[in-house]
Structure formats: structure tokens, C-alpha cells
């Protein structure tokens, strides 16, 4: 039966704290105070694609870093991969590819460490229902100072890798069309090797925290904001997880293949984006299944679910342990994102070790090129999920079309589903309780959304909660932060 939105009460939560950028959650209630609609909104417009149009293609890998201060490297590399094809240089030299991979794993390492220690660990260490004045990074610093320090030092280590491979944070120029503009000096390599074993040890400890939390609380979190879904990610030709390059694979909730390792240059044949009038963020879906059944999740959970194996030993052992919890079927528990994120943290540092000991990083053959093209797609697995960059370039080397589908947009429907499930479970009456807010925030944070990236905006606002009656009269309002 269709619901008349005009007769619903509305609770607005704006924005969600401790996620990147800002967004708001609107809960629409019926006259019986039951949830009828749950929506995660973003409030800014999209404009970045227009900013790119008319610019020479070789500037794009630098310009796209302006999209987001949290994941500039992912945009840098996705754009560079597209521009590789524009110059016919997609088959990189060993030094070119390995330098980019080192940069990428450094980005994963710092991003996952930041999210785990400074955004989600308060929820895991203190519990969702604990005092919000304690349940934050300052609380962690007070009661678990060694963990707070680890988080900072791991983030710093990842940033040092990025600095050594990409250059300056604001004007990173490491990846250029067809390759890379520098190799890794012996001095840079030795500096990074110095702290490597410490980082590996801390990664194992981080994984233990996430795993133990999930296993010990499985009965509580199994239904928390959880739902069956499809999962999409890049995988290597042999089915291994590959965060830098591969084919697009999709599986359904039971693990059946619904997107069969396709070449992502043809992604528009398989994926479409639905526009909804209440959101600036689009809703991607698999065309064959349609918008109702074809939406999917991306990110660490999807990647672990979709791949056949991981090609580093400790992360592969961790993957097997994770998959055993669901008898090797896809895991559809939202809070399991945290465990999978730490498996990827470990995989990243294992890959970093592998690369730092590879002499190809000191090679001098940095750039390649071939037959010029006018259209290209660059795909990469960003820390938050699959990131699409699609460009058309004219014969004067100017970009004439740009389309980006960022990771958080790919998780749009999934995050809305999580919010809906949590609100259904925790809303009581028409009061906006602290518990309800906390649980919604915890659910959204599991996806590590980057709303500034999704909306191409930067900014920060306080948390505002508003309750309206069915005639849109304001009944209650709370501000947080």
C-alpha cells in the first residue's frame, strides 16, 4: 500500500557526527509513531564534473584531489588510470605500477587506521550505549592511551608512504598519464622500512580487537542494521582480492555470481544510477536486476565476500577465519565491516612490505604511452569502496565529459537500509532519545561514508535533530556537537 508522506511525522538528524563531511537523517513516522521511511540525505550539490570540463587531461589527476581531503589519493589514482588509457599507456612499467600500488596501499593503511582507532573504536571499546561524553577519541585516549597513539602513528606511517610516492599532500603529482614521475630512493625506502615491523605488529593487534569484538557480540550485532544484499568489487583475473586493478565482480546474498568479472571499461552496460527527488546523491544499481533488486554494497565487506582469496598469507588466514563464521557464504552483517576493514589493513601492510623489498621501485623506466584514445574509465578500490572515474577528451586534449561514481554513492541504498533497520528497532514513541541517535550513528559509521566526497563539498555542521508532526509542525529539536 502506498504511504501518503503528507501524513507522516518527521524526525531529522543532521549531520551524523564522526563521518566525513556532513549529511542528515530523516525519519518519517506515521500516526502510530512507527517508522515509515528512513532516508540518509546529503545537502550539497554536485559540481565537480563541470569544474573538470575544459581542463587539459594531464591536469586531471591533480585537480581531482580537490574533491576530498580525506581520500585524495584514491581520486588521484582513479583519474590517472583513466588518463593512462587516454595516452595509450595502460600497461605501466614495473616501476610505474609498483610505485602506484605502494601509494595506494599507504592510503589504505592510513585511512583504515584512522577510521578504526579514531572513529569506530570508541563504539567498540565502550559499547554503543555508553556515556557519549566518554564514547569518543578523547575517551579512548584516557582509558586506552596506547591504542590512541597507535592510531596516530599508523596514520602517520601511511601518510609518509604517500609523501614518498605522491609528493605534496595538496598538490600530489606522483601519478601522471602513463606512469609515475619519480621512483623510490634508497633513503626513502630505508626510512619506511625502519618502522615496518612495528606497523605489522600493530596491524595484527588491531585485527584481533575487531575480530574479538565481532565474535563476542555476534548475537547482538547480527541483526543490527543488517540486511541481505548484493556485493560488488574489483577482483584480479585469478579471483584474488586486488585493491588497485581488476575486473568487476558482483555476487548476490548467497554468493551466486551476478556480474561475471567484466571489463570495467564497459561498466555503463551493466551499472546505472537512479536519481531520487529527495537526495542529491544518486543510487547505483545493476541494470540486469533493476533498481529494486540490483543495488549493492561496496567496500571492505563486499571485497572480502566477493574475492576467492587474498594473496598475502596473514590476511588470507584472517579471511578464512572471517568466512567460516557464515560457513563460507557472504556475510551480510553491517557491523562486520569493521572486521573486514582490519583484514584489509593487514593485507595493506603485507603488500607494503613486499613492495619495499622489491628493487623495481628503484627503476628508472617510469612512463609509457601508446595509441591515443578519446574516452576512458579508471576504476580503483578506494578504502570506502569501488570508485569510478569516466572521462571523454577531445582532440585538443580538453576534458569534455566527466562522470564520477564515488564509493559512498555506491553504498547509498545500503546505508539507507541500515538506518531504516536501526530506526525500526530503536525508535520508541516520538521522542528523539540519545540511544536512537547513537545507534543510527554507529550503523552509518560502519560504512565509513565520506559524504564530503559523495557530494563534492567540504564543511562541517553541528548535529541537529528535529521532530515534526504530520502537519510539519516542529515538536522537538535537539542540537549536538
Amino acid at each position: 500500500m502506498a504511504i501518503d508522506s503528507n501524513n507522516l511525522k518527521k524526525i531529522t538528524i543532521e549531520p551524523v557526527t564522526r563521518v566525513e563531511g556532513h549529511g542528515k537523517v530523516t525519519l518519517l513516522l506515521d500516526d502510530n509513531n512507527k517508522i515509515q521511511q528512513a532516508r540518509l540525505h546529503v545537502v550539497e550539490f554536485r559540481g565537480f564534473e563541470r569544474f573538470i570540463q575544459g581542463r587539459p587531461y594531464w591536469e586531471v589527476p591533480v585537480l581531482v584531489q580537490r574533491l576530498c581531503g580525506i581520500c585524495p589519493v584514491s581520486h588521484h589514482l582513479a583519474a590517472a588510470k583513466a588518463m593512462d588509457r587516454i595516452v595509450g599507456g595502460e600497461k605501466l612499467t614495473p616501476t610505474g605500477e609498483k610505485m602506484r600500488r605502494l601509494m595506494h596501499y599507504g592510503q589504505f593503511f592510513q585511512s583504515h587506521a584512522l577510521h578504526f582507532f579514531h572513529l569506530c573504536s570508541p563504539d567498540l571499546l565502550f559499547g554503543f550505549g555508553s556515556d557519549p561524553l566518554k564514547r569518543n577519541v578523547i575517551g579512548v585516549a584516557k582509558e586506552f592511551p596506547e591504542l590512541a597513539v597507535q592510531g596516530v602513528m599508523m596514520r602517520k606511517y601511511g601518510q609518509e608512504i604517500i609523501k614518498a610516492t605522491a609528493g605534496k599532500k595538496v598538490h600530489g603529482t606522483g601519478a601522471i598519464p602513463g606512469g609515475i614521475n619519480k621512483n623510490l630512493s634508497i633513503a626513502e625506502r630505508d626510512s619506511l622500512l625502519k618502522d615496518l615491523e612495528q606497523m605489522i605488529e600493530w596491524s595484527h593487534k588491531s585485527l584481533e580487537i575487531a575480530k574479538n569484538y565481532t565474535v563476542e557480540n555476534l548475537s547482538d550485532i547480527a541483526s543490527f542494521g543488517s540486511f541481505d544484499s548484493n556485493h560488488v568489487s574489483l577482483v584480479r583475473d585469478d579471483g584474488a582480492m586486488d585493491l588497485y586493478h581488476g575486473n568487476l565482480r558482483g555476487i548476490d546474498k548467497d554468493g551466486n555470481r551476478i556480474l561475471d568479472d567484466i571489463d570495467y571499461q564497459n561498466y555503463t552496460d551493466y551499472i546505472a544510477e537512479e536519481v531520487r527527488d529527495w537526495s542529491y546523491m544518486k543510487f547505483p544499481f545493476l541494470k540486469d536486476l533493476g533498481p529494486e533488486k540490483g543495488w549493492y554494497r561496496v567496500g571492505p565487506l563486499a571485497r572480502i565476500n566477493a574475492c576467492d582469496f587474498i594473496d598475502t598469507p596473514d590476511a588470507e588466514a584472517a579471511r578464512k577465519e572471517f568466512m567460516a563464521v557464515t560457513d563460507n557464504k557472504p556475510n551480510n552483517i553491517s557491523m562486520a565491516y569493521h572486521w573486514t576493514r582490519m583484514i584489509e589493513l593487514l593485507h595493506s601492510i603485507e603488500k607494503i612490505k613486499e613492495l619495499l623489498n622489491d628493487s623495481d621501485l628503484q627503476g628508472d623506466d617510469l612512463v609509457t604511452k601508446g595509441e591515443r584514445r578519446n574516452e576512458a574509465v579508471g576504476l580503483i578500490e578506494a578504502p570506502r569502496g569501488t570508485l569510478f572515474h569516466h572521462y571523454k577528451v577531445n582532440d585538443d586534449d580538453q576534458v569534455v565529459m566527466a562522470n564520477l561514481i564515488v564509493s559512498t554513492t555506491n553504498n547509498n541504498e545500503a546505508m539507507n537500509s541500515a538506518v531504516r533497520g536501526i530506526a525500526d528497532e530503536y525508535l520508541s514513541g516520538n521522542e528523539i532519545t540519545e540511544g536512537l541517535l547513537n545507534h543510527i550513528e554507529v550503523g552509518i559509521r560502519a560504512y565509513d561514508p565520506c559524504l564530503s566526497c559523495a557530494t563534492h563539498a567540504m564543511g562541517q555542521m553541528p548535529l541537529i535533530v528535529e521532530l515534526y508532526d504530520s502537519e510539519d509542525n516542529l515538536l522537538d529539536r535537539k542540537v549536538k556537537g
Partner: protein, 158 residues
């Protein structure tokens, strides 16, 4: 507790160059870096994040440089007190929050200062500063550089 041997002055300029005058911080960092002043380390980023706390702890003093939306023209220079931020996004840790983390996590007693340079327009995706903001930036650099060369930020704050 993890601690660092602190030395010298750190200048951190932050902001997004694609938002007009929001790019003042990184632009100042770029200009200071060109001068290669002994004992001065320079960094630039889109926003401050938690690992900046470790960088602060490695120095005796830090100058945060940012665009100011409502501050006095052409700039303000004020000391900062470390602060415990009870809720914040990693997207944007405040300078005081970074100082607070440096103190709490690394036992840092670095002195912090905020150089807020007045900007006027912050539209998205325009990679050019307004003329007035640029003039303000030049004045702010002229103010800051002599102190950096002297290795002391003790000048009367304004």
C-alpha cells in the same frame, strides 16, 4: 607514553585551493617553504587530521595558517590553548584539538599560534584567490617571516 625530541617551528597551512580564498593556508605554506628558513618545517594539507598531533609534538612551536571568514583584516595572530574536543570528525580537527591530542598522547608542551588571514569568497571549484585576500596574505607573510627567521614567535600577538 610515546614522546618526541622536539625542536624548531612547524608551519601548517590548511585549506582547499579549489575553494577560492580557502586556499590561503596552503599558499602561505608554499611561500614560506620557498624561503627555506633554518629550523622551520612547513606542511600543507586540505584539513587538519589526527596525525598532525605527532607533527606538533616533534616541534617547540607550531603556527597554523588558515583563511578566516569573519576575522579582522588583514590577519590575526593569536596564541592557542590545547583543547579536548569531545566530538569531532576526522574530516576536520581544529588547531586547538590537534594541540590537545599532542598534549594528551605525546606529552607535548609545544606553543601553538593561529595565523588567520581574512578571506572573502569561498565558492567551490574556483582555483583562484580574490585580490583582497591575496593582499592580506602578502601582509601576513611579511609579518610572519621575520619571526620565523628569528626563531621566535614571542612577538606581541595581534
Amino acid at each position: 607514553m610515546t614522546t618526541f625530541d622536539s625542536h624548531g617551528i612547524l608551519v601548517i597551512g590548511f585549506g582547499n585551493p579549489a575553494r577560492e580564498d580557502d586556499g590561503i593556508g596552503p599558499a602561505v605554506a608554499e611561500e614560506i617553504e620557498k624561503l627555506a628558513i633554518d629550523g622551520i618545517e612547513v606542511d600543507a594539507d586540505y584539513q587538519l587530521t589526527v596525525e598532525d598531533a605527532a607533527a606538533v609534538a616533534e616541534h617547540d612551536a607550531v603556527v597554523f595558517v588558515d583563511a578566516s571568514i569573519e576575522g579582522d583584516e588583514p590577519y590575526t595572530f593569536t596564541p592557542l590553548a590545547p583543547k579536548r574536543e569531545e566530538t569531532f570528525s576526522s574530516h576536520s580537527v581544529s588547531p586547538e584539538g590537534v594541540m590537545g591530542l599532542a598534549r594528551d598522547l605525546f606529552d607535548s608542551d609545544a606553543n601553538g599560534y593561529m595565523l588567520g588571514i581574512r578571506g572573502y569568497s569561498f565558492e567551490m571549484f574556483t582555483e583562484k584567490m580574490t585580490g583582497q585576500a591575496h593582499e592580506n596574505m602578502i601582509k601576513a607573510i611579511d609579518f610572519l617571516v621575520p619571526m620565523l627567521r628569528a626563531g621566535s614567535l614571542e612577538k606581541v600577538c595581534q
